[in-house]
Subunit: 381 residues, 4 copies
Amino acid sequence: MLKRKLRMGMIGGGPGSFIGNIHRIAARLDGEIELVCGAFSSDPKRSSETGQELYLSHDRVYGTYKEMLEKEAAVDENTRMDLVSIVTPNHLHFEPAKLAFEKGFHVVLDKPMTFDLAQAAALKKLVTSSGKQLCITYTYTGYPMVKEARQQVLSKKFGKIRKVLVEYPQGWLSDLIEAGGQKQASWRTDPNQSGQAGTIGDIGVHAFNLAEYISGLEVTELCAEVNTVVEKRKLDDDSGILLRFDNGATGILIASQVATGEENNIRIRVYGEKGGLEWQQADSNSLIIKWADKPVEIWRAGSPYLSDAAKQNTRTPPGHPEGWIEAFANHYRNFAKFIRSGQKNIDINSDFPDVEQGYRGMLFIEKAILGGRSEEKWIRL
Amino acid sequence: MLKRKLRMGMIGGGPGSFIGNIHRIAARLDGEIELVCGAFSSDPKRSSETGQELYLSHDRVYGTYKEMLEKEAAVDENTRMDLVSIVTPNHLHFEPAKLAFEKGFHVVLDKPMTFDLAQAAALKKLVTSSGKQLCITYTYTGYPMVKEARQQVLSKKFGKIRKVLVEYPQGWLSDLIEAGGQKQASWRTDPNQSGQAGTIGDIGVHAFNLAEYISGLEVTELCAEVNTVVEKRKLDDDSGILLRFDNGATGILIASQVATGEENNIRIRVYGEKGGLEWQQADSNSLIIKWADKPVEIWRAGSPYLSDAAKQNTRTPPGHPEGWIEAFANHYRNFAKFIRSGQKNIDINSDFPDVEQGYRGMLFIEKAILGGRSEEKWIRL
Amino acid sequence: MLKRKLRMGMIGGGPGSFIGNIHRIAARLDGEIELVCGAFSSDPKRSSETGQELYLSHDRVYGTYKEMLEKEAAVDENTRMDLVSIVTPNHLHFEPAKLAFEKGFHVVLDKPMTFDLAQAAALKKLVTSSGKQLCITYTYTGYPMVKEARQQVLSKKFGKIRKVLVEYPQGWLSDLIEAGGQKQASWRTDPNQSGQAGTIGDIGVHAFNLAEYISGLEVTELCAEVNTVVEKRKLDDDSGILLRFDNGATGILIASQVATGEENNIRIRVYGEKGGLEWQQADSNSLIIKWADKPVEIWRAGSPYLSDAAKQNTRTPPGHPEGWIEAFANHYRNFAKFIRSGQKNIDINSDFPDVEQGYRGMLFIEKAILGGRSEEKWIRL
Amino acid sequence: MLKRKLRMGMIGGGPGSFIGNIHRIAARLDGEIELVCGAFSSDPKRSSETGQELYLSHDRVYGTYKEMLEKEAAVDENTRMDLVSIVTPNHLHFEPAKLAFEKGFHVVLDKPMTFDLAQAAALKKLVTSSGKQLCITYTYTGYPMVKEARQQVLSKKFGKIRKVLVEYPQGWLSDLIEAGGQKQASWRTDPNQSGQAGTIGDIGVHAFNLAEYISGLEVTELCAEVNTVVEKRKLDDDSGILLRFDNGATGILIASQVATGEENNIRIRVYGEKGGLEWQQADSNSLIIKWADKPVEIWRAGSPYLSDAAKQNTRTPPGHPEGWIEAFANHYRNFAKFIRSGQKNIDINSDFPDVEQGYRGMLFIEKAILGGRSEEKWIRL
């Protein structure tokens, strides 16, 4: 085991980036990873500006990701970075990730994994052959009570799962704010940067991943309505999707960015024969368990009665809330632990979303968009 | 205006009935209506038993609804009932209602309005020609904060409505309890008593009515998955339905009776261009208003700042909760006020669900069941 | 057992009265009691006006309570009222109640029981000697989940009770609204009508009663700060009181009517050695149970797993909320059942607040006001 | 301005420490501070063990705080630490802090500031004369919505403040767990390590600080009941305290560690003439604003409409919850910003608790314990 912090580089996350800073906080939080280098912007001046704000050594701040990956691969192993975090828009995921694997680095990649499904398939092969590992930051499965939910479903305490309701309502795209150049909105609604999907790729994919993660099931078919509500918008901003799972269960997935006034309350409910569960980000430290004939239960993060999977992803005692940043940090911490361990298999109690989850997300995007355009009712995944 | 209580008869609501008692409480609560007679069961002995429990005069308790309607029509006008409340299973709605109108009585009818759509069309005609009025007890639109929600949408403060999410999850049919003879389950899952729909007709129709009532819109198309989850059940017990409205808005309706552990938390969210609202029965005295750029607001029943429609359907000051029974009672109170007034038009501040709403509910049931069986994606209403 | 509705008269509750109408609804709701007569106002014209609105027979509407009690005592027993409900301001509780008992009627009396402690002691004697019964409408102990809370504490599942936190914050007296003649405020802040206490007598006494009812303990000492916050107000409008109970437990009681923006969220928390409970009116159909080492539990009104005491005071299935009016109605229903039964002892599953609880409330008022004025820290009850 | 991370040392926080790790995460989170050295335990072996886990250079891990402060003061200024974080039990606060100031370091100190009031007075003098700054980690005032609450009160939108209700209920000391050697319980209930107060010093002081911070008022008098509920415990574990503030407002402070089943839900309500506010850790990203005659408002962390004080202490958009660790980190980030700036005055939008707040906390502890033992009702602060 390495007796030092892992060394990380970052691609993207320059001035004006929102998610870049969150990744940096998440990576830094547990003291297992230190940021040592970066290509924060394709504009070298802006890249340098961010490097200075982060107190990085001038000679480890690069103008392009290629330069960074090549130079870092060449430096001595006592200095060289171990992993790279890629936080660029979707169209700039695949090429840097590909090169990183070729140069022998582990990769953290923001969701959705790639620009399109073909790239996803290619990346899946690449990861397998590289001997390195990929972590996709589907943030919400980093929450301890989401991990607890998965454990409880897998334990079969609810019996066979019958119904999954998952939703991610946001309201921030209720107006055509991309017209005014709002940075977050601009690339997400641009087919050249985001891919064929807008809302489906931005948050629908989170809902899809959460549903499959907690239920332990796979979606096999979907029936989708995918809308562009705001005039002149170039991609979808709203959807309602009926789901069918591989065990015969059904589900409903709602993802909208024109649900005016909504923040980020991703929420899931799963019902089995004997009981059900509910989790939502607005009350992220609680897991609600419901029974046919017993009182409702509230399982609380940090409690001694939780599964190891929940316990090992918590830092505070019950009632001292952890949040979204800590969920993010769990992925980084678990990924670091995995890299340190040198193991091949991901520990169930310290898991993180892997390339397979990344690929399935891309598959969902492809099929949801297809379904939204189709007169056919059901589309197979 | 009549200077006395209105006199009501009841058809159904005998021993073992649940909803009959609720109707009686609701009718009685505001002191505007008194129960004077009833045909509580098709078994005269059981009808009589209920009559005694209700301290009714022995000679006003009947063995059949026909007997009651005929005899009551014949008694003198200082004694004769003014309206009849029909609380039987669905297959026993149309005939008694028809006869009641023919005999000159106003009618309160539990939902869904009839056994099938043809009966609904017939009843619609009948009401129009009778000069009497029909009240369908879609309970949830009796809540003051549901009326407030409707007023706020109609005021256009949210701009054009874009999205309606409505759900009614229950868990009490997670097992095949009809097999054990549970009375409420038995008739609701029996095609001969309930009609072609189970859950869709029992609670889906509530969700549908709530959505149209608050949004002020009409559903024009739907895409439905309708499931029978519990083996050996004869009717549907679960569904997910995509909706399209006449102004171009879309929606999602979820109705399930196998959402194990859920009680009766019917809930609706409506989003417009500028803001949105949320109401749920579990917090029935609050209406949540959300804005793009202002704090969330909680409007509270009983408050002085509410619309007249909300205020006139409340009895208590803010913080003294009213509930489901009072919502029910509002329909009775408003119906009584309407009858007393002798007016033709329903006052917007004292409204109740009429035959048109009853008919649309039946139309929804017909099309949802059709859609559930169809390979076609969209079904027109 | 009487095979007819009980007949009730009312003293007070004329034009402008708020609580009178609530009492009437509560008495009427379950169909066990009918209002047959009333002396609704000391102004015969106004009394008559209310009588007409209630569709009462003209000859049973009286100009004074004396007239009513005397005449009703004289009518034949097939017509005569059985009980009287007194809903006047505090200074008009004792005399009518006294006369009612002397004339052989059962009495429902709003809280606080009397104008002062001496009257309370006298009334206590009177009830005992009369052979009739008194019901004090401390509303909140009528809630099913409050009854459940009491049962759970009495079952000793929490071990010895150590701490009781009870609060009743209101904001409606934040301004000197009595100066503008607001009726509800005027008499409550007038020492000649309300007695020596304002807030303490109006809502503090509810909190006190709730604490003793659920905990099964008696307060033995208190240390009080009692304030008059709004200038020119004649009675207290705010307080904080430390409590000591007869088993060594301690508590804190907060009652304020200048907690601006608060509605009526009376709330109690009780902690024992092994766990604790929480109930509040804002979520009146839930009882929260907390444990040292297990998930939180939410026990829900209407559920099959509840105690008989809770079940027998509920009309609806879980998730169809009952509220404040139904809690009120439970007192009336249970009182009616008691009267019908002819029993001496109150059934634990159909209980109602009796004269002893009324007396202890008056004792609390006396001592809290004394404590508020005293430099002594602890005052014995 | 320093163009590098600030260098921090830590005293305490060795094996088994809970709060030490939280301080390290908080210091590390924003990338402004790096931990460079530590004296983590008075046992050099255990200190070294923690140093290794933190990947610290062996020669910067010390066996005693004295050794650390002396040696660090002597190293060159390109290496030397800038500030020291002291996370030991209360009896080991004063001496290390004193020496740190004497050696020219800034100090972060966990609450309560010192072992007794005399030490607090001495430390206050020392800070003033040292030219260095002290940050006391009263965690809860680090929350953005607590800062928002303070700004709103100071803006006078609620008018004069009349009532402050603050509570901190915990249940983890419901049993005599110190008897079993539980580390956190052992020192907190030991008069030799904790000082004269148990619960009052551990969490009462948080509640006190929160009340003074948000209200902008100072407590002038208190009336206290302070209990030791669990037999054989050496210090207090429960309390109820009446408060009087310098503007005439009153308040109630509840702090208990035997409220079985409670976690860490510190909560405050403040009422003024025109409205009130409510904040609680269980919903830390919301601030509830209540008005006499308008809908309740929920102000949400991360929203554009908030004050600068709130905005500058948030990292995520609304709905992505931040929590207790981020509140902690805000103190570190703001303290780092202050140190970098070289200013004398604390910026209102980047504030942190200073020595004066630390001193007032100690004054509260002294007087609350005195009051708890006194027969006198009111004790002046």
